[in-house]
Symmetry: C2
Subunit: 138 residues, 2 copies
DNA sequence: GTGATTGCAAATCTTTTGCACTAAA
DNA sequence: TTTAGTGCAAAAGATTTGCAATCAC
């Protein structure tokens, strides 16, 4: 039987987050976090998993993406209604969305400066700030 | 027979946009634009219409919201995946989204300043810039 | 063992579409 | 009239859920 050796730290990463390192979660974590920052939908990740020999159901992919997001391993990005994108880059950064092609690019956090922030309503704390530059082809 | 008198300019507004001022479109336009800026989903607007005596099907509400957005009468705001919000305020401004309550607030355009914009890919033009401050209750 | 996790299928929810009917120009 | 617009019901997606089977501890 072939053992799928996860990238270093996958098990720790999951257990630290309070999630059991199951075969499915490890396989998905490997796909998500091994190759640098990426944006992905549940459907895309499910296909990658299937193609890569990680047997997992689409429902579990959805559940896993939501769990990873809850514990801060992923960040959900709202681009257009009707489809959720998950971003493996949880640090401060922004997005460039090409409406013609559907492509989603990262914009480094330091290439955008927000000054003069608005006042927040009372008894609320600011979570993250989404900045999306919607672009189209000329 | 009672005539539903639309707010001043509704007919002009639609015809100027190349849309026939039908009973349904006038009724929806009145609900959308008469009471200042607002954020609304198709479902909410449909309920308001029905409650307010404007007979219109949900499918037509969807179609109308999309048409209004295409001609610039509305702006679509991506908040959370799975549901489209339409904003009657099409001028430069940003949003505050309370993730606990689902409330969506406007932030005046001049209370946020974006400096140091990123470079855009070649042969693209920037459409609009969405800035969403995600907040939660303390 | 025992409780967490998974898979599957069904259910839900939002949005779009096809087509016959109706209304605006 | 003639063409655009509407309603309905069905279709299409995306995502969630119920529950029995399975797995991690």
């Amino acid at each position: 039987m072939k053992t799928c050796r996860p990238f270093t730290g996958a098990v720790d990463r999951l257990t630290a987050a309070g999630l059991r390192p199951t075969r499915q979660r490890l396989g998905l974590a490997r796909l998500l976090f091994e190759g640098g920052n990426r944006h992905i939908t549940a459907e895309q990740l499910h296909r990658e998993a299937t193609d890569g020999g990680v047997k997992v159901s689409l429902a579990t992919v959805y559940n896993t993406l939501n769990q990873f997001t809850e514990v801060g391993l992923l960040r959900e990005v709202a681009m257009a209604a009707g489809r959720a994108y998950f971003d493996t880059n949880t640090s401060a950064h922004y997005h460039l969305f090409n409406e013609d092609t559907g492509e989603l690019f990262d914009v480094p956090g330091d290439s955008v400066v927000l000054s003069v922030l608005p006042e927040m309503p009372e008894n609320t704390v600011i979570g993250n700030i989404d900045v999306v530059f919607h672009i189209r082809n000329k």
